[in-house]
Structure formats: C-alpha cells, structure tokens
C-alpha cells in the first residue's frame, strides 16, 4: 500500500503561512471530513498576505508552467456538492514557468480584500474562503494546495433597536402579552423580557423559549428551507394564573449562532427566530414565532458588555 501511495505522492509540498500568523486569532473550522482545524480569522477589507513555500521532495526537481495563488470566496450547495460557485476570485502570479530544485518561498499579498460574506457552515449550504495555490504542470497535472481561513464581519450596534412587544391569544382560551427587550441581538447578548398572562383557561404545563434558525437555499420554485432549533430554554414550570408575569433572561453565548444573513449572493439566507412555546397538560403546543436579527458585534466592544 505504502508503495502505491508513494507513487502518487506529490512531487513537492506546499505550505502557506500568513504574515501575522502568530498573532492573528485562530478559530475552529469544521472541515468536510468532520475534523475541526484551527484557522486564522479575517474580516472584510483586511489585507491577506504571507508566504508560500514550495519544497520539492528531496532530490527531485519540479518542472512547472507557472505558480499562482488565488483567493476564492465560494458557495457550495449540498444538492450540488463539489460544484463551487465563486463569488470572489483574486489571483496573484507567483512564479514564471521554470524548475524548482530546492525550497523556494514566494511572498504574496491581497490588499484590502472585499469579503462581504461570512464563512458559514449550514445544513444545505456552505460558504468558505480559501487560498488556492496551483503549480501548473503540463503533463503530470497541476499540484494544488488549499488553505482555509475564516471571515467574520462585525457590525456596530444598530442605531434603532426596538423591543418586540405583542399580545397574542386564542379567544377565550389564552391571552398573553410578551415582550423581548430588543429586536436585534448580538451573538453574546442576553434576551431580557417577560410574558404576561392576561387570560388563562387552559392548564399549561410549561413554557419554553426556543431559538430557531431558518436556512433557505435556492430561489424561486427551488427554494429549500431548513429549520433547526438551536436552543430550548425552559421559562416556566407549572400552570400560571391570570396576572402572572414570568421573567425571561436568556444568555445567547452558549449557543452556536451566526449573524442573520439576508440573501447572500442570491444563493441563501439565514434567519433567526424566537419561538415562544406553551405546552398544556394534553401536550398541545401553542406557539408564537418572532424574527430577531442577529449581528456580530466587534470583539472589543463585546468584551466590555
């Protein structure tokens, strides 16, 4: 086996190092094979630079028709796996055609790259950023090396952030008024609110607040919607009576949330909802879903909160 693998072993190894690789924040990224690796984190408008070294397997020379590095932003729909749609594609030529006998290092730089979308790993869609190094060879096929990195984009706190307040009910059965302190939450935020019972004619067993993520992919008649419940947080145990007011305090930090993505490159959207669920003694569920907008707050301002 080893022998056979050895035969197909690439003629050289390619490694990518980022110029601020030591100090840059690394985040976990789940790869296709299920493994989690730590990769550097960038945001839009940042300059991505570093070095690419090519080292031929000892004693061999690598003949090539040129070496290039590409920065790709790709969207992969799972119904069309393997087929990437590049929404961003930048290329830097590293070397003119020639031969490499020993380890050779090429600096590269993509300055102030526009990366409007965040890295995302969904149920039916994946958005990834990758550096692709290609050593083109005529007959033996090109040698390609990928280096993933993650992009996250931060937003300032919204200037308008109204609370969500609503009275809902089933006639002569259940009337409640609920209030969430905001309509826009950052990822480490805490949802504060309360539920006020105006009329209770059913025997409620408990009440949960769910955080649901709705991922819709495709467009038109091909739209595919997938909903996941990311959090199920019990708010109340037992049957309340009229006039009771139940507090809500839900910390978002334990959950793996992303910002709300609206119509990313016409390919997909990710939206978040708060779903208030009341369950009665016969296990009937009464619920009311409200969309909330998630956003990523700058790291520094996040820490002070």
């Amino acid at each position: 086996m080893n022998y056979i693998i050895g035969a197909f072993k690439p003629a050289c190894s390619i490694s990518v190092t980022f110029s601020d690789g030591k100090s840059r924040k690394q985040v976990a990224l789940k790869k296709e094979n299920g493994q989690t690796v730590m990769v550097p984190l960038f945001q839009s408008q940042e300059t991505i630079s570093g070095k690419i070294s090519v080292e031929p397997v000892s004693g061999k020379k690598v003949e090539h028709n040129g070496i290039k590095v590409e920065l790709l932003g790709q969207i992969e729909m799972y119904f069309d796996r393997g087929n990437f749609y590049d929404f961003t594609s930048l290329v830097r030529e590293l070397d003119v055609p020639g031969e490499i006998y020993e380890r050779k290092t090429f600096p590269f730089e993509f300055s102030t790259v526009e990366m409007p979308y965040e890295t995302y790993n969904g149920v039916n869609v994946r958005l990834r950023y990758v550096l692709k190094v290609t050593i083109s060879r005529g007959y033996a096929g090109s040698i390609v090396q990928y280096q993933d990195f993650v992009v996250r984009n931060y937003s300032p706190p919204p200037s308008i952030n109204n609370s969500i307040k609503m009275e809902v009910g089933i006639e002569d059965c259940l009337h409640i008024e609920f209030e969430y302190n905001k309509s826009k939450y950052h990822l480490k935020d805490v949802i504060i609110g309360k539920i006020y019972f105006l009329l209770v004619r059913i025997k409620i067993k408990n009440m949960d607040l769910e955080i649901r993520r709705r991922e819709s992919t495709g467009s038109g008649s091909n739209t595919h919607v997938e909903t996941e419940t990311l959090a199920k947080f019990e708010l109340m145990d037992g049957a309340p009576v009229r006039g009771e007011s139940i507090p809500i305090r839900l910390f978002l930090s334990p959950y793996e949330l992303t910002p709300t993505y609206r119509n990313i490159n016409n390919k997909f959207s990710v939206k978040y909802y708060l779903n208030l669920v009341l369950v009665d003694e016969e296990d009937r569920r009464y619920f009311k879903q409200q969309e909330i907008t998630m956003y990523r707050l700058g790291e520094t301002s996040e820490a002070t909160l």
Binding site: N206, A231, K232, F233, E234, L235, M236, D237, G238, A239, P240, V241, E244, S245, I246, P247, R249, F251, S253, P254
Partner: protein, 790 residues
C-alpha cells in the same frame, strides 16, 4: 387503589433518590477535581429529580432535603471557586445557561448566596433578582420549595440593622420588600394548590396543603426577626402588606393560618399599636374562616401581655383596646352571618377574659359584654349546643374567678340574663360553679338584696325550671347539688340581726318554691341558721331587744314554725320532728315556755299521726326523751304532761327490747342533776322497775318461742342505769336492789338453757370492773360503792 398509590409513591421516591444520589456522586467527583463545567452539569441533573410531579408534599420534602444537603456542598465549592479567581459575576451567569428552569433557579439561588457574601454587588440587588426570577416556577409544590430554599439561603444575608450586609437607610426596607414579595408569591402558590387535580381528591389536597403551611409562615417569622422592622415600619408597611395578601387570597385555610401566624410571631406591643388594622381585616376574611379562634388567640395574647406587668396597662388604655376589640367582634359577628352560636359566645368569653385582665375596675365593660352576648343569643329559645353552653359557662365563670367575689357578679345586671339562656342542666352546672366559688372564697353575702339576686341566679338548683328533666337526673348528683345549696344557706350571714332576719325571709321565699324533693335538704340549714340568730339575740338580749322590736326571737320562731310546716306536705315527719325538737330547745334557751311547749306539741302530734314505722318510732322517742330531758323551762304541769306522754309512747313501742330501752331512758326525765326541781326518785325507780318487768317478759318470751333464754344484755343495761342513779344518790335505788339484779343476771347467764353470749359476758365484766374502779377511787362515791359487795 389508594394503597397502590402509596406504594407507587414510595417507588417514585426511591427512584428519585437514586437518581439524585447518582448525579450527586458525579458532582462530588467534579467538585474534587475542581471541574466547574462538570459540577454544573451534574448538579443540574441532580436537581432535575426535583422536577417530579408524582410525589406528595411529604415525600417531596424528603427529596428536597437531600438535594438541599448536596447544594450546601456545591455552595462551598462556588465559594472556593471565587477565591481561586473565578468571577462570581461570571458564575452567576454561567448557572443561568441551564436549560431547565428548576435546576437553573436552584443553582442561581445557591450562587446568589455566594454572590451576596462576596459583597461584589449590593445584597439587595441580588435578592431582588432572585426573588423575581423565581416567578418562573408556577407549579405550586415546586415553587413553594424553591422559594423556601431561597428564603433559607437568604435569611442570614438580609441587610438589616447591625448585619454585615447593612447598607444605607433604605436597605432594611429592601429586605422587607424581598421577604414580603417571597411571602406573597408563596402564599399565592399555596392557595392555588387547592385548584389543581381532580375535585374528588380535594380533601387529600387540603391535608397536603396544610402540611406545607409552615413553609409560607416561615416568611412571617423571618420578617419578625428583622431588627430593622420597628413599630413604625410594621405599622406602615409590613402589616398592611401582609394583611392585604391574606385578605385578597380569599382562601379559608390560608387566612386562618396566616392570621394566627401574624398574631403569634410579632410582638405584643406591635399588636396593641396596630390593633385597629389587624381587627379591620377580620370581617373581610372568608365567612368560613374560624375568625373566632383567631380573635380569641389575639385576645389571649393581649391578656397575657397585660398580665405581664402593670406598666404595660397604660398602653392598652391609650389605644382604647377594649373599644376596638368590642367593635371588631361586633363587626365579625355581623359579617359572618352563619357563625354558630358557640363561636359568638367564645368571642365574648375571650373578650371578657381580656377585659378582666386589662380593666378589672370597669364593671360596666363586663356588663356591656354580657349584654351584647345576651342580645346575640336572644333569638334562640335555649341553648342546646354543647359547645356553646360550655362557652357560656366559661364566660360566666371568668368574672367569678377574677374577682373571687360573687358580689361583683351580682352587680352585673346582664349576668342573670345570660344564665337565662342556658338549658336546665347547664344552668345547674353554672349555679354549682357559683356556689363552689362562694365556698372556696368564703364569700359572705350579707344583705337580703344580694341573697335575693344570688338565689335568682342559682334558681336552677332551687326549683324545677320549665322542662322536667327528672327522668335523667341522677339521684347522687341531685343530692350533691342540694347539699351545695344547703352549704350555701349556711354561708349567708349578717352581723345585723335585722338584716339577718330579712335574709332568712328571702331564703325562705326562694326555697319554698323548691318542691318536695328539695325541701328536706334546704329547710334544715335555714332552720339552724334561724336558730343561730335566735341564740345570738338571746346572747345580746336586753340591750337590743328594747328598740328593735321587729326582730325578736318570738317572731323568728313564728317563721321557723311556718317553714317546718312546709315540710308537712312531704312525708318527712322524722325530719320535721327533729327540727321541732331543735326549736323547742332553742325556745327553752330563750325562756319562752309556751313556744317550747307548742313545738313539743307539734313534735308529739307528728309522732302520733305520721310516724308509723316502728324503727323510726324508736329513734324518735329517744330524740324526744333526750330533748325533753334538757328542757328546764316547763312548769310542773307542762312537764308532767309531756313526760307522761313520753313514757306512754315508750311503753307502747312494738318490740319489747325497744320498749324496755325506751322506758329505762325515760327514767332520766325525772332526775336532772342540774335542776333541783326535777328530782323524783320514786318515778325513776318506777321506770326502772317497769323496764325490768319488760326485760323479764322478753326473757320469758324467748323461752317460750325458742326454748332458750334471751339475751341478758337488757338486764345489764338496766343494771347500768341503777348504778348511774345510785351514784347520783337517788335514795330509792338501794344497794340490795343492785345486788339482787346482779344476782339475777348471773343466774340467768349460768342457767341451763342460757345461750353463750360473749358480748354480754364482756359487758357484765366491764360493768363490774367499773364498780371496782369506783371503789378503788374512794371518796364519797367510792364509799357508796363500797356498799355494793359483789
């Protein structure tokens, strides 16, 4: 079905305990290895066992206590964790990530406790947050236990005067607010419990609820322990808020329990100062609430407070405690229309006890209470309710016990009116209580007016009341009662003869209504009481009798005669006879010969006409002889007439031995040592001889009927009489006759057919010994005895 339920519950409980212990085990491991994440995970899982709905409060408590112990360890761990540099604020957030609310809140309270201790945030902010978050548990049982946990972990951390968490002036207020809120929420949950589950299990649920009441009540206890709750704050905030909750919860069980709780946990002086507020709440309670017990307890507490020292009494006057209580009771009775009559009376009885303690000098208050009570019971005929009558007895007894003086009760115009409403049995009981009280305190009732009132009070004993209860009347009890009345009559006394005479009149008036069954008991003491007066008049004789002509022995004798005559309707001739003889003797002492003679006449008439039983005759004749012997005022003629009659009666007794004894007794009628006038030896001898003849006859009769000699006892008795008169120097009694008699006795005893009779032997022997003794003594008597040569 029920047994199954219990078994199932056991099973669930043990399953719960097992789950709890298992997770506690993992939690301990996490604690030991300082693994916060695991500690939180397993503690939350452990606490999830408390989410069960299957256990009764009792069993749930068991589970809760186990969890409680584990949480203490966790709290300790949290504390260490913060000293290791973990931020308490972070910890406070971290525990809130738990998805299930119940474990989350238990953990939050536990961390909260550490948070307060760390003083990184004002204690009040943390407390406020905790008590607010606990609203998430709306399940009554779980909520009650959670809040009770909160109360438990917070009670030593409440900002208070002098506590280490003391902050600025408002903090005590915040503590109070915290406890009040927790109390209110707990009470709401507790009240709500009754509405959950099927209706048929209501009773069981109420029982379970009752088991949980102390969880709610503990909050009030905590409030009472806060130093900063002074009278002002209690009055302005604590009490109104607590009462608001109590009134608004509209639940019978809770209202009763909490009212009682308030009364028991807060200090007396607070109650006194907030009496009006507290009392105003009472009429607002549910009609089914046992307000009377609540009020009774309050009054009991206040009474005890009043009793604690005279220095507190001014407080009572200052707040007009009596007026307020009286007013409140009126309102409560009005508000609770169908309060049973015993409840009403209980309330008044408590108020009375209170009044006696606080205003012992205000008889008008007491009368007012009794009056109000009368008004309330007046709708009904008589009270048959056992409980109610018991309470009325208590109500009526209280003043007696307090004042130790029936006089006071007699001044209360409503007192007899209350007694009116008792049924005959209880009325009697009460009358007995009154009499016992008089006896115990040796109260003297010294005016006719009071006597009149008193007898009016105890009329249940004096005469038959409307309904006739004789059928169920125990004879023993009846005797007991009437003996009490008799003793009471003896207690009536006035130093003023005039007044005493009036008292006698009054008593007579009352006892004459008593009927045939009572008179034999009540007449004698009255007669003796009257005779006592006669003797007293006699004692002071000249000095008084001159100007106060109205009360003379003569007049009293007239009444006495009438009284005894009243006995004639009842066949108790022996008693009447005895009384006549007593009177005769008294008349004798007063030198009223005609009166004495009249009494004797009456006695003789009774003897002749009424006393037919031979045994009774024997007794009576001896009484007559004994009395007559002591009479010294009779002139010769009268005396002759009476003695003649007496000897005549004696001789006519049915049984010979009785005859014999009566006749020799008559001998004493003719020889009085202390009166020279009456010394008729001839007739003495005559009597004794006659007695001997009869004794002989007895002997012969015995021989004839049974073939053996009768007892010689009679002879020995006669011998003793001979010796007596011989000793007194009656010349007609000769030595020879004595010796003859002794001879006779001896021969009788040694006769062939004489039965052996040890008693007679002993009797004779001691008689002879007496003779010897007198001889040995010497002197004049000894000399006379020397002549008797036995």
């Amino acid at each position: 079905m029920i047994a199954d339920g219990v078994e199932d519950e056991e099973k669930w409980l043990s399953a719960g305990i097992a789950g709890l212990q298992q997770n506690a085990f993992y939690m301990h491991r996490a604690l030991d290895s300082n693994n916060l994440k695991d500690a939180l995970k397993y503690s939350a899982q452990m606490l999830s066992e408390l989410r069960t709905s299957r256990l009764s409060p009792h069993k749930y408590y068991e589970l809760y206590m186990r969890a409680f112990d584990e949480l203490r360890k966790l709290e300790l761990f949290f504390k260490e964790e913060t000293s290791r540099g973990c931020s308490i604020v972070e910890l406070y957030e971290l525990v809130q990530h738990a998805g299930n609310i119940l474990p989350r809140l238990y953990l939050l309270c536990t961390v909260g406790s550490v948070y307060i201790k760390s003083k990184e945030a004002p204690a009040n902010d943390v407390l406020k947050d905790l008590v607010e978050m606990c609203r998430g548990i709306q399940h009554p049982l779980r909520g009650l236990f959670l809040r009770s946990y909160l109360s438990q972990v917070s009670r030593d951390k409440l900002p208070d005067i002098g506590s280490e968490y003391e902050g600025d002036a408002d903090t005590v207020m915040d503590s109070v607010e915290f406890v009040l809120q927790n109390f209110t929420e707990m009470n709401k949950l507790w009240v709500r419990m009754q509405h959950q589950g099927p209706a048929r299990e209501k009773e069981k649920r109420e029982k379970e609820r009752s088991e949980l009441r102390d969880l709610v009540g503990k909050n009030l206890h905590v409030l009472s322990q806060i130093e900063g709750v002074d009278l002002e704050m209690y009055k302005e905030i604590v009490l109104p808020r607590v009462l608001e909750q109590v009134v608004n919860c509209k639940d019978e069980l809770a209202q009763y329990y909490l009212m009682d709780c308030i009364i028991q946990v807060f200090p007396d002086e607070y109650h006194l100062q907030t009496l009006e507020t507290l009392l105003n709440a009472c009429p607002q309670l549910q009609p089914s609430v046992d307000v009377k017990t609540v009020l009774a307890r309050l009054m009991e507490r206040l009474s005890n407070y009043a009793a604690s020292g005279a220095e507190v009494l001014p407080e009572f006057f200052q707040v007009e405690a009596f007026a307020k209580l009286n007013n409140a009771i009126g309102k409560v009775i009005e508000a609770q229309e169908n309060m049973p009559i015993d409840g009403v009376v209980t309330l008044y009885a408590s108020l009375l006890t209170f009044t006696l303690q606080v205003h012992p000098d205000r008889l008008d208050y007491i009368d007012q209470i009794l009056g109000a009570c009368v008004k309330k019971v007046s709708g009904k005929e008589k009270l048959d309710d056992r409980q109610a009558t018991k309470q009325i007895v208590a109500l009526l007894s209280a003043p007696l016990e307090k004042y130790k003086d029936i006089d006071t009760a007699l001044k209360l115009s409503n007192y007899p009116r209350v007694m009116e409403y008792l049924n005959a049995r209880t009325n009697k009981e009460m009358a007995n209580v009154i009499i016992q009280n008089i006896m115990k305190n040796k109260t003297r009732i010294s005016t006719a007016e009071k006597v009149d009132a008193l007898f009016e009070l105890i009329k249940g004993l004096i005469r038959d009341l409307d309904e006739d209860l004789h059928d169920e009347l125990d004879e023993e009890d009846f005797k007991e009662e009437q003996n009490s009345v008799a003793r009471l009559i003896q207690m009536l006394h006035s130093d003023d003869p005039e007044e005493m005479s009036k008292i006698i009149h009054t008593v007579r008036k009352h006892i004459l209504t008593g009927g045939r069954t009572r008179l034999p008991f009540t007449v004698p003491p009255l007669i003796f009481s009257s005779l006592k007066l006669v003797r007293r008049l006699e004692g002071q004789d000249e000095s008084v009798s001159g100007n106060e002509a109205s009360t003379t022995p003569k007049k009293i004798f007239q009444i006495v005669t009438q009284i005894i005559e009243s006995l004639s309707s009842i066949p108790v001739p022996e008693l009447a006879l005895g009384l006549y003889l007593q009177c005769a003797e008294a008349a004798n002492d007063c030198d009223l010969e005609p009166v004495a003679y009249e009494f004797f006449t009456q006695a003789y008439i009774l003897y002749e006409e009424e006393i037919t039983d031979s045994k009774a005759q024997v007794t009576c004749i001896h009484l007559i002889i004994g009395t007559l012997q002591r009479m010294h005022i009779f002139g010769v003629e009268n005396r002759d007439a009476l003695t003649h009659k007496a000897t005549g009666y004696s001789a006519k007794l049915l049984k010979k031995p009785d005859q014999c004894r009566a006749v020799y007794a008559c001998s004493h009628l003719f020889w009085l040592d202390e009166h020279d006038r009456i010394r008729d030896g001839e007739r003495v001898l005559l009597c004794l001889k006659r007695a001997l003849r009869i004794a002989n006859a007895v002997q012969q009769m015995a021989n004839a009927t049974r073939g053996s000699g009768g007892s010689v006892v009679l002879f020995i008795e006669i011998l003793n009489k001979y010796l007596y008169f011989y000793e007194k120097g009656v010349s007609q009694i000769t030595v020879e006759s004595i010796l003859d008699l002794i001879e006779l006795i001896r021969s009788e005893m040694n006769g062939d057919n004489a039965p052996s009779d040890p008693a007679a032997d002993a009797f004779l022997a001691s008689t002879l010994r007496y003779i010897q003794f007198q001889k040995d003594k010497g002197g004049a008597v000894g000399e006379r005895y020397e002549l008797i040569k036995v």
